[in-house]
Symmetry: C2
């Protein structure tokens, strides 16, 4: 069978009937009033191509037979001179494919039937407009005559008759234009426009088949890795007209409000009009509510249809309909685009209505949508003056004065002004300006341009590739159309949507709606992966707990060292030349650290808190070498202040001593802890003094002490001994005993590769995937993002920034090795992740797949992580066990 | 059976008879004239210990019975008043164990038998000397009386009689001393020295058993992880005397010359003397040659014995012998210590004599010995004035003026003076001084001290931990005993042997003796692992080929860029702001690069040459940021030369732009090649122009083009396309076709983890284990060796410097993964290693084990690598297949 009636197909036959054909069949199947039609299968197309552009045997006969079905349903005949059936012909491949032939309307019109149509519709103008459109479309698509040749004829007539719009042309003019079109065809191809309707039809079918192999389609398939063997289907459908009088009409509607998610019909319609009239904006369409009064039975039909559609598709639908002589027709339905807010509300409502399960509801939301709701964004009630749109390169919203010069942006931004840096594009030389800016706007470059990559890395809003924005850097202004923005003017950018807005616009803090709270509650029922937070301040801990964090997965201690009031003491400790002097400084830090932990422990009462001992290299706490070199040279040459010079030189010498070629791979983490055990001993004491103090007030935390940058099991065993000694001493002093664990970060490949050894001394692992990505790739993140990552993304060397989304192939593989080896030694070892990937949905999914116990991420990302964790669980439960096995087969072999 | 006659044992019974007992039995067994004796087994000792220090049943009876055998053989009786049999009692555990009781001689003497001995030997003095020694040893070892109490009595007598040496004491004096000794014992333990010979004997046996559990022995076993359950054996052997007249004597000999390896008896002897006389230096011993004339039948016996020993032990033997009344006795034989040179000659000679196989010969040499022969070393013919000895911390020899101050060493060393830096110990602050010095001497610290680790890393000679050297840094001098060396005095250090020598000593270039050439020839027959070299100069290539390299495994191209005459052009290329300007500079470099390759290709005619495209980050070719900061500040403040200031500022800006936080993980390697494809295109052109040119002269190389720092297969495919394009173009221009391969370094973990993907585009892999070690450990080599590696080695966190010896557990595991994955995709992919580990014997062995095709190392290390490769093959063939499987089991699971 080469041809299917719409009644014979369904949505599952996409590969045979193409996407469009399957959808039309599905709507027909569930009883919607779809104009009748037939679909020629993709198999026919394939056969046609293998047979060197010959129709397969029986195809034509089948078409002729099945068209009778359409005629019968419509009560009209194809080619009938008095009231002809007209059809549309559309291509429809199994996957959406721009570049192929799209549509020919009004097939079946010719010099004779056009008159019948005029009479039947009682509108000669409409009839001839249909006819000249058919000739133009047919001439262009089937006969391959350039469209502008037709347009030129049309323009000439409009000029001659002083007509502004097509609509100003009357029936007579259109009749003449049709004649001119036919002449054009005769001249161009030496043949007449085919008058015989079936000839028109088979020529159109052939054109659809041929369009499968046109160059644009071939390139598109190559780029998108679509097989050349799929073929396309051809849909032939009866035309219906909404402009056949006052009992006809057309409209579009959403089954729910796509902006808010409210359950209400939402849309517009026009009576006695065609689809394009609604969009063209010449007549003002009416709100769908008004249809209730104007045509209550049609409204009822629409309501019924919408209910049916939602029950069937279990999602908000975006539909097109036409009314022809009081008969309601569905032309299209598709899943409705909606705002993030609406998406959440619709999913939650539908679940509560029993339309879908909670799991389904969760799967309906993209993690990105949750993310959008969690970024500072433009107040939706604010009036905005949109200047232009670019690419949504890095989410969030920011306002500031426009600055074009990088150095100026640096200077003014650093001085506290809010600056939006505007550039054609950015380069590594611009980093300092980007750092100082609130947001970045570029007129060139895509989602993976330097600006986009770096801004995402910095967590700053960025709009890139705003082509309409014409920058005049000499004059320090930019223009969009006739709007001019000068240096110093204030603009707002919305990096989540790509908006460039004039002036300052109020932005709002992210907040959680009741629906999102409900949805997140469901994630907790479903997910098996824990979600903790990275927090090292009481504020962060508090916010994260509010957002549903189940503990702290990473409490960095170096930020505590960096505080204004402590830095001098930390520097004193570093400048100390003996262990004794170091201990004196450390003793001053002890009560401060104890205070830090005390506050955080209180907030996290009852939950685990993973504290990472000092990780930073010591020189991070001293002035920068570059600055010191300039300052000492200045002091030396001025010769005025000998004492200051000597002091500065002393610091310079220490910094030179501590300075490293590659600090990321240098003397930090546990290496420092082993070299100067007194530092970790102080920290351990602070932790246990705080914890024992609180234990007396019945506040408890699950202490997890984490060692950074471990690469060898002996590092853990060395430090473990010392930590246990101090802990024991403090607990004895306090007269009580606390449970605690000692574990390690996994952030260098060696730790992962020797996880079996590691697990002998570590009670938990936590993947530091930032550093692990750096070491597995051999990328310094700072250098890569500033220097070559954007180039790699542009050249498709990398599919994604591995610092945003976990690289499964490499980093993921070694994580899997680590989990397997670690659990071999200690089957119940707790394994988590505390790198930034812990808040990235795709990475969270991977963490679930390899069986981690929890992810830990920044407080704002906790909801996203909860959400992604639930989705991961659902996905994995759904996918066959086989599938996930295959993915790791290569590792296990 | 608790007791074995020497005739009843053999060398395989070590665990039962102890090492010494088994060796004595073995000599007896093969017919050597060993003084007769018996061995009490370790089982008896164990039983003694489990039975709370009681002799096991039957032991005493067995001793009494078997001693009869000794009496019969010697024709004397134990305790016989007229001519008593005397015996020695020695401990002998299955493994050598200092800390246990060693020896009691002359057992069987008492107030009566001593007179018999005096008569029988006709030497009263000797008899009483033997007696007083027995009392002293027995008192000390068995009765636990401090030795210095006996010594004090002896000293008093010498003082009283004005005797300088023991020998100056006559029989009468010795008799009196023996009496005093006996009185001392009576006072100390309240009992008399036991006169009954059997009582002496059993007390001595008990003392040996007890010594197994003395504190020193227990500690030694704990430290060396020796089981407490082994127990010790006891050897009781007849005493023979070389001082019984002119037909008696004693001597030591080597079966071959231990210095040169020549096949000739080598040693010394003295007639009418005891062992200690030969060593004491009072009488000058005669060369063993003279024995031929003095006692031809004894010499013949000696010769026969040596032949027998070599045939039996198949190695050079170091023996002790005694002649008693014209009877030749063997007292000891052991494998002879020899110089590196001798070791090689002996092994080769023995193989040629058919004593051992070639494989055996190869296994006899330690790779370190080969290494010693390949370092610059002190001329063996030079007269040297040894000041002191320290630890051989880093091999090689160097002379220079002594400098104590690090900054001064830096200054004078940098200015061209040859400096030996002398410090108590070094710290990271001293690096600049170490860099500028020829060699380093420290008075403290071990083989893993900072100085040792850093010096080995730099390849500089170092002697560490020379405790005798007393440094006075204030006065800038050091003293050893009464020798004083002042700042500026010249010394020579030999880091291979730990020597500190006065003045400048001639050193010699390493050279290959005929024997070593022969030995290396054998390695080529045996090994399956290829050996290539790392060379980027014609000189290096030539030397390596001479040393037997089978190709170049790594030809770095950045060194070629760094040459004096090219740096300005390279800098011009870097400072260029457009691709066009860059290409202009690159075009100037093209003929130079072509010339480089041309020369190297000529030398390597017929062999593979692996050329690595540019790897270094660009800022390495520009002035240092630190210097520029100081210089621009100076120019700015002086305000004199505006033009120079601007120019310098321009360079500074570029350097700041290019500068990276972690250059090791930054914008270098293929990342640079992808960012600026024109650089690799120029290099490819140079390579193929040189190769096609030479091909016309019938000189051919097997070209292998290698990409650095690859972490993703897409990097290879991107560059591969461009390289192939250029290669094709050049070959077309030349009108000929060359075979070549394109491959990749494996130096970041991701490359290894995704080797299956890599192998789709790479025709060969080469492990860059320097960088791979850095990334797997997360160590920056420069920072680690200067900052914390020595600490890690000292604390036993690391067993070895992973940059010297490949870390099997981590780096090795990922290499194995890489080999397995790579070969899965491309089963015949060529895999080598070009990191420095390629010249380290233990690492070479690992490379053989995991099935690499070749190792590549610096020219001087080529012989060591060939040697290590052969040893690896032999070892692996010998070890059971099971064994090697177990080692990698964890990876394969």
């Amino acid at each position: 069978m080469w041809v299917y009636l719409f009644e014979e197909g369904n949505t599952r036959l996409r590969s045979l009937l193409g996407g469009k054909g399957a959808d039309l069949a599905e709507m027909t199947r569930i009883g919607l009033p779809v104009p009748p039609g037939i679909t020629i299968t993709t198999e026919a197309c394939k056969k046609y191509n293998t047979m060197k552009q010959r129709f397969p045997d029986g195809l034509e006969k089948e078409v002729l037979e099945k068209i009778k079905h359409i005629e019968k349903k419509m009560g009209k005949k194809f080619g009938d001179p008095s009231d002809p059936l007209l059809v549309s012909v559309r291509s429809g491949a199994p996957v959406s494919m721009p570049g192929m032939m799209d549509t020919i309307l009004n097939l079946g019109l010719n010099d004779i039937t056009v008159k019948g149509l005029a009479k039947a519709t009682n509108d000669e103008r409409v009839a001839y407009d249909c006819y000249r459109r058919l000739i133009e479309m047919f001439g262009n698509v089937v006969l391959d005559i350039k469209r502008d040749k037709f347009e030129r004829i049309l323009e000439e007539y409009k000029h001659k008759l002083d007509a502004k719009l097509d609509l100003d042309l009357d029936a007579e003019a259109l009749k003449e234009i049709a004649e001119e079109y036919k002449k054009l065809i005769k001249i161009e191809i030496g043949k007449d426009f085919p008058q015989e309707p079936y000839q028109q039809l088979f020529m159109a079918i052939r054109a659809v088949f041929d369009s499968w192999n046109n160059p644009r389609a071939i390139v598109y398939r190559k780029v998108n890795k679509i097989s050349n063997d799929l073929g396309t289907a051809v849909n032939i459908q009866a035309m219906v007209f909404g402009n056949r009088g006052l009992d006809s009409g057309t409209g579009v509607a959403f089954t729910r409000n796509p902006a808010t998610g409210e359950k209400e019909l939402y849309g517009e319609y026009l009576m006695n009009a065609q689809g394009e009239d609604v969009v063209a904006g010449i007549r003002t369409p009416k709100s769908i509510d008004q249809l209730k009064a104007e045509a209550p039975h049609i409204y009822k039909e629409l309501q019924r249809t919408c209910d049916l559609l939602e029950r069937h598709y279990k999602d908000i639908q975006d539909i097109e309909f036409t009314i022809e002589n009081d008969v309601f027709y569905m032309l299209q339905t598709r899943s409705g685009k909606r705002t993030a807010q609406a998406a959440v509300k619709i999913a939650v409502d539908m679940a509560k209505e029993g339309l879908i399960s909670k799991e389904e509801a969760l799967m309906r939301i993209e993690p990105k949508q949750i993310e959008r709701l969690l970024h500072r964004r433009i107040d939706p009630n604010a009036e905005i003056e949109l200047i232009a749109k670019g690419l949504p390169a890095s989410p969030g919203a920011a306002s500031g004065i426009v600055i074009f010069d990088v150095d100026e942006a640096d200077k003014r931004g650093s001085a506290g002004e809010k600056v939006i840096l505007v550039r054609m594009e950015t380069t590594p030389e611009d980093i300092h300006g980007m750092v100082a800016a609130q947001g970045i706007l570029t007129s060139r470059g895509g989602m993976t341009s330097h600006a986009a990559v770096v801004a995402r890395g910095m967590g700053k809003p960025c709009v890139s590739g705003a082509g309409e924005v014409k920058i005049d850097s000499e004059a320090e202004k930019f223009m969009v159309g006739d709007i001019t923005i000068e240096k110093g003017d204030i603009i707002t950018i919305d990096g989540s949507r790509g908006y460039i807005i004039k002036g300052e616009v109020p932005t709002i803090e992210p907040e959680l709606s009741p629906e999102i709270r409900e949805l997140l509650g469901w994630t907790d029922e479903i997910r098996t992966l824990g979600v903790r937070t990275n927090a090292d301040t009481p504020e962060g801990a508090e916010r994260a707990r509010m957002f549903g964090a189940e503990g702290i997965g990473l409490c960095r201690t170096e930020r505590m060292f960096n505080a204004q009031d402590r830095l001098p003491i930390v520097q004193e400790m570093i400048m100390a030349n003996t262990e004794e002097d170091r201990k004196i400084a450390l003793n001053k830090l002890l009560p401060m650290q104890r205070g830090d932990f005390n506050e955080i422990f209180k907030i996290m009462d009852g939950l685990p808190v993973t504290i990472r001992l000092l990780d930073l290299p010591l020189h991070e706490f001293l002035p920068r070498l570059e600055d010191l070199l300039v300052e000492t040279t200045e002091l030396r040459l001025s010769g005025k202040d000998e004492e200051a010079f000597l002091k500065k030189t002393n610091v310079l010498k220490k910094v030179q001593t501590l300075n490293e070629h590659n600090p990321m791979l240098g003397h930090r983490g546990c290496r420092l802890g082993i070299r100067y055990p007194e530092i970790y001993e102080m920290q351990t004491r602070a932790i246990f003094e705080a914890a024992t103090e609180l234990a007396k007030e019945n506040i408890s935390v699950k202490l997890e002490i984490m060692l950074p940058l471990v690469g060898k099991a002996s590092e853990i065993s060395f430090l473990r001994q010392r930590i246990e000694d101090v802990a024991k001493r403090v607990m004895e002093e306090a007269g009580l005993k606390l449970e605690y664990m000692i574990g390690t970060m996994i952030e260098v490949p060696r730790a992962a590769l020797t996880a079996d050894e590691m697990a002998r001394y570590a009670e938990f692992f936590s993947f530091g995937t930032n550093d692990l990505t750096q070491t597995v790739f051999g990328y310094s993140r700072d250098d890569a993002e500033a220097k070559f990552l954007y180039n790699y993304l542009n050249e498709n060397i990398l599919e994604a920034n591995p610092f945003e989304t976990l690289d499964r192939e490499g980093v993921g593989k070694i994580m899997k090795i680590c989990v397997d080896f670690g659990r071999k030694t200690r089957h119940d070892i707790e394994i988590g992740i505390c790198g930034e990937h812990g808040g990235d949905p795709a990475s969270v999914e991977f963490c679930h797949e390899i069986g981690l116990d929890y992810v830990s991420c920044s407080p704002f990302r906790v909801p996203i992580a909860r959400f992604a964790a639930a989705q991961a669980k659902i996905k994995m439960d759904r996918s066959s066990a086989n599938d996930s096995k295959v993915r790791f087969e290569q590792i296990d072999q």
